[in-house]
């Protein structure tokens, strides 16, 4: 069977709300409008306005309300129309949600999911294209999940909703309409993916490519091209930014001895930097070439189509970097 990522997310919300009366969805346009991106289609009709709650455009307020409801024992799923808008509410995500179980030594747990599209969409400009994976991923107390396929979406969103801790669940608008095959197992309502485990999407032996969300697709396409040129790339779909599956990544690099990290977020202090350092720390002796990062360009997202394309990783960037780590010794050009 095939399913779009949107359908996968929708089916999970439906199933988990059916299974657990404590689960409810809140956010802007999630109800009557059926979701800004139609992820919550049909849920209001099925579960009613008590459990599918349309909010005003007041992120700080409704996020705080969601976190408070989680303190009390409900299991809120808070939708941000995009994660850019969650900056208005980030104090609640970090200070009220992520830190409370620790500060209370376990007295108050915070079972909540914050979800919505993250990162760039098409042509939406600088204020609507920020990828927050690295920010949230830096915060102890949070778990940060990043689905790529429909199966990821199902297994990870279920895991997030059932998890007793605050989970930041980063979707991608451009992936909602993407269609993927889904196994019978993944269609089962008990299906759940383990939090903190990466998935090897494609095995390979010459170079490891790590990616998350939409970039997994580009990396797989790059691997296809590389295969034609005789380079066997192993593509790791991170699935979880925090906890980060250091052991899977290290094991892969110990096999391939080469690493290219791919992400669409800003480069500095990014996911690629962390993965790179993790390899340096744990598998330095295995590296046959310097690690390379492919990232979003270090600029606010421009609107114009040609600049936007330059600002985001393209398949050819991944191919080029993979070839560099495989064939060439690294150029020791002076750093500028």
């Amino acid at each position: 069977k095939e399913m779009t990522v949107r359908e996968a997310l929708n089916s999970v919300l439906d199933e988990e709300m059916s299974a657990d009366p404590r689960v409810f969805l809140m956010g802007e346009e999630v109800g009557e409008y059926q979701g800004a991106y139609k992820v919550s289609k049909g849920l209001l009709q099925k579960f009613g306005p008590e459990r599918v709650v349309d909010t005003p455009i007041t992120e700080a307020g409704f996020t705080g309300i969601g976190v408070g409801a989680a303190y009390y024992g409900l299991r809120p799923v808070v939708e941000f129309m995009t994660f850019n808008f969650a900056m208005q509410a980030i104090d609640h995500i970090i200070n009220s949600a992520a830190k409370t179980n620790y500060m209370s030594a376990g007295n108050i747990s915070v079972p909540i999911v914050f979800r919505g599209p993250n990162g760039a969409a098409a042509g939406v400009g600088a204020q609507h294209s920020h990828c927050y994976a690295a920010w949230y991923g830096s915060c102890p107390g949070l778990k940060v999940l990043v689905p790529y396929s429909s199966e990821d979406a199902r297994g990870l969103l279920k895991a997030a909703i059932r998890d007793p801790d605050p989970v930041v669940f980063l979707e991608n608008e451009l992936m909602y309409g993407e269609r993927f095959p889904v196994s019978a197992e993944a269609l089962d309502s008990s299906f759940c993916l383990p939090i903190g485990k990466a998935k090897i999407e494609r095995e390979g032996k010459d170079v490891t490519i790590t990616a998350f969300s939409k970039m997994v697709g580009l990396s797989l396409e790059a691997a296809e091209i590389l295969a034609k040129e005789g380079i066997s790339a192993e593509v790791i779909n991170l699935r979880s930014i925090r906890p980060l599956d250091r052991s899977t990544i290290n094991a892969s690099v110990r096999k391939t001895n080469r690493l290219v990290t791919v992400e669409e977020g800003f480069p500095q202090h990014g996911v690629g930097a962390e993965i790179g350092m993790s390899i340096v720390e744990d598998s330095f002796g295995y590296l046959d070439a310097p690690i390379e990062r492919i990232t979003g360009a270090d600029v606010p997202m421009p609107y114009a189509a040609n600049l936007e394309r330059m600002a985001l990783p393209q398949i050819e960037d991944i191919v080029r970097a993979a070839k560099r780590v495989c064939y060439r010794s690294v150029p020791m050009a002076a750093t500028a």
Partner: protein
Amino acid sequence: DATPITVETSVPFTAHNCEAPSRTVETTAQELVGFFRIMALMRRMEIAADSLYKAKLIRGFCHLYDGQEAVAIGMEAAITKKDSIITAYRDHCTFLGRGGTLLEVFSELMGRQAGCSKGKGGSMHFYRKEAGFYGGHGIVGAQIPLGIGLAFAQKYKKDESVSFALYGDGAANQGQLFEALNMAALWDLPAILVCENNHYGMGTAEWRAAKSPAYYKRGDYVPGLKVDGMDALAVKQACKFAKEHALKNGPIILEMDTYRYHGHSMSDPGSTYRTRDEISGVRQERDPIERIRKLLLSLDLATEKELKDTEKEVRKEVDDAIAQAKESPMPDPSELFSNVYVKGYGAESFGADRKEVRAVLP
């Protein structure tokens, strides 16, 4: 013709914590003809943007202003370019009102070099600082404290000018409004908060988002005025009143009762959360352009033919601007790294593949 004439506003103003201004507005034939022309131009521009979007020449979000034109032009008629305006993402017509050109609009919408932001901002991010227009903001509510900050600076510099911060009925619930308004009131800043109440924030009717949708009263201790935002003359009268008030007494809220004909942005058909009857009812009874057309005709200040000619002219202006915008090139690739900073100190910046693309910031 610049002879003063007086016209009554459609409905009286409703005041909160202040005395409402008079319904009798001074205007001239010249002004009314100008209103007609610029509103027709704005309308045409937005309709053309709709087509360009459908032809995939405009990407991403595109929020159209048709229906709300009287707010932009009534406001301009009451103030000068020394006064500041700031708005949200529905900014094309406000930009035009501040003297921006059609070429800049269409080029920006299509992501071309001739755009007002060189194609780097897009639909939501138009600016024209030299004429007191400070954008063009994509985050709901953010422009309100920003606008109050402009007023702070005006007072600081003793400029005797005021700032208008425009926001929607949806944005009216944002906490930062209440935070910034409190400071504006504490510090007597010349800030005018203009709530463009088009009755929907995306698909949410005002009463579903606000316990009290009487936005002109939401300042509580701050005065407010409810205005027919479909009547350019009422808007002008209210803005004149508000400017005087703000310079003397600090902030005031103007709630403009208005309507957007289009959906929220291009992906919203705009018809699932409201009836077609509602839309056509407003078009027939309250359209801001038709109101001025009727006024011009009933006062014998223009003929049907003259107005039709004007409409033909603006159509051509728009078509010409689009043609010209299409000639404008995409921004040069080097623009990727320009304007990140005013002063880059020669720091390095990176493209997606830093070994392939890097730049030294000037």
